[in-house]
Symmetry: C2
Subunit: 341 residues, 2 copies
Amino acid sequence: MPRKRNAHRSPEMPTLADVARLAGVSEITASRVVRAQGPIADATRARVLTAITELGYIPNRAAGSLASAGSTLMSVLLPSLSNIVFPDVLRGIHTALTETAFQPVIGVTDYDPLIEERILVSFLAWQPAAVILAGLHHTPTARRHLEHGRFRVAELMDIDGEPVDIAVGMSHRQAGYETGKHLIQRGYRRFGYARHNVTTDDRASARYEGLCWALHEAGLSLVAEHCYPDASSTKAGRDALAILLAAHPGLDVVVFPNDDMAMGGIFHCMHAGIAVKEKLGIFGFNGLDIGQAMPMPLSTILSKRFLIGKTAAEKLLESRERPPEKTIINTGFDIIEGATA
Amino acid sequence: MPRKRNAHRSPEMPTLADVARLAGVSEITASRVVRAQGPIADATRARVLTAITELGYIPNRAAGSLASAGSTLMSVLLPSLSNIVFPDVLRGIHTALTETAFQPVIGVTDYDPLIEERILVSFLAWQPAAVILAGLHHTPTARRHLEHGRFRVAELMDIDGEPVDIAVGMSHRQAGYETGKHLIQRGYRRFGYARHNVTTDDRASARYEGLCWALHEAGLSLVAEHCYPDASSTKAGRDALAILLAAHPGLDVVVFPNDDMAMGGIFHCMHAGIAVKEKLGIFGFNGLDIGQAMPMPLSTILSKRFLIGKTAAEKLLESRERPPEKTIINTGFDIIEGATA
DNA sequence: GCCTTTTATGGTAGCGCTGTCATAAATCTT
DNA sequence: AAGATTTATGACAGCGCTACCATAAAAGGC
């Protein structure tokens, strides 16, 4: 016996067929009106539109996606939502997607490539139009899926490497290097570094390496570093600096992996009565607003997070076809001199 | 002529039929293995699982969703991603959804009920299992859709009102009231308020009202308020306080709609040499980590954002059926005494 | 041993939409 | 005016999966 229509749906939802019947056209014509695709006579369009409002018709995207083998979803895989950095990226993506039919589906990987792979696979089940993820480093399985080519791929934040399709971001190695050069030029010599526990944050590591390289070039090296055994936070920065200075009082500048921790460093100095900049330089990364609103603006590097997200989404929308060659877009960075180093 | 199978798919994707064929079972049996549903003999399951790995099969959720009239998507509509508050909520939601089959699809409404309505409708096209949104205030059309009942609904942050299904949050009116009582008890009498431009942030308005009510009860009223003509930010708080004090030097406490602005207020005091707490009390809202990591921890109210998101998602997962009565979960709030008021 | 219940599997018909092809009418060429 | 092109519409199958039965075999009850 055939399944009764809508048997498993509580109140009947109007379908395209209902719209078509009411408007006195065929289903496919109604479909064309909904999708604004193909030539439609104005009078016909009007009739269909009226029918749609009258019935309160909402298209079923699952059916559409199934029939056309492609969805309007854009998978976004972010490492973390614990600070404002990735929400900023997401905001950029969302801004580019407003007024388009695309919708972001988000997943959080906790900086773990295996989790990234698992979430990616579950996202692919929706036949996304594009996949956005952070960094260029993925598991082999994930990379294989990404290279399959049925969807566009954007790898964000980092451009030091070979992207699958599009990469949008900056060179973190260079940012670290420029940080070192900038601070050396300003007379700092005895460098400290306050790290946090995320060993898989490739970008923080790249900045660290760049910094070391700049020091090396100048015949210097890190005097001290401390790894705070927990996630990055303002408190982590504050405590890390306290520990660092207790063991190495002679430091004249401390570089932090991000602004949150750097602000913690400043708070420690305020608390301990250390003159920031004169006695101890503090340098961060990200260029958060709050750091710039302080009485003594934080010296840091502005990463263009919103721009990265927005640019990536825009590029992905430009064409559904993956171009023959990989694209790298360098959004660059700005050194903010600030007043703390 | 029938459409050639997979004609519009570049490289052929394996389907359930391929898996079933390889495993020597029927499609429906393979489907049951994939969904871990119904009784399956261990040997059969193993064969199907092997076939799945061998083919690299990824289920097509659009087809599944269409056939079963329900998806594993959870629509999340947030007012903003510009500060850490809603990312925290999202993090809570995501945490509850990890290890489940559900995936959050997110939209940003910019505190605009009309945008909320538009995004809601476009999300409903995916037949979501649940919808999560902020606040209890929606357009009539949106409310009608939400009440339709084919999916669970959670309204977050606010519990002062009548929810559609589940509400998880706190009473912002009461938070404002308690703020007022707390500050009055500490001896403050000449109150200022620094507002920002989002007039549609109902929760900030509710806190404001609660504060005014507490003042009224004590025979007091706001001495001054200033509305910063831009979005909330640390800089907004800093500038707003400067303006407020220029016009009303006699204020002894200023309440801010959130911690970001309150920190701006503290930064102004630091800059202008005003002794915070002794000369001018500063009070925020949210209980952000950064405020607590300052040398002088911010006096504020801790809103339990992560908990709200997590609780909501968990409650939604408990049953697919909407219960006969509406549920309100009060996650409460804590007054953080801090050192600034 | 016969009947009931449970366990394991399959056949089949859609879910609601869109790709493909076909067709008819209107418009443009020369 | 006859053909070529463009514009507007429709018929129909099928996207990949699962709900709804049906069935057969195994297990349990007395």
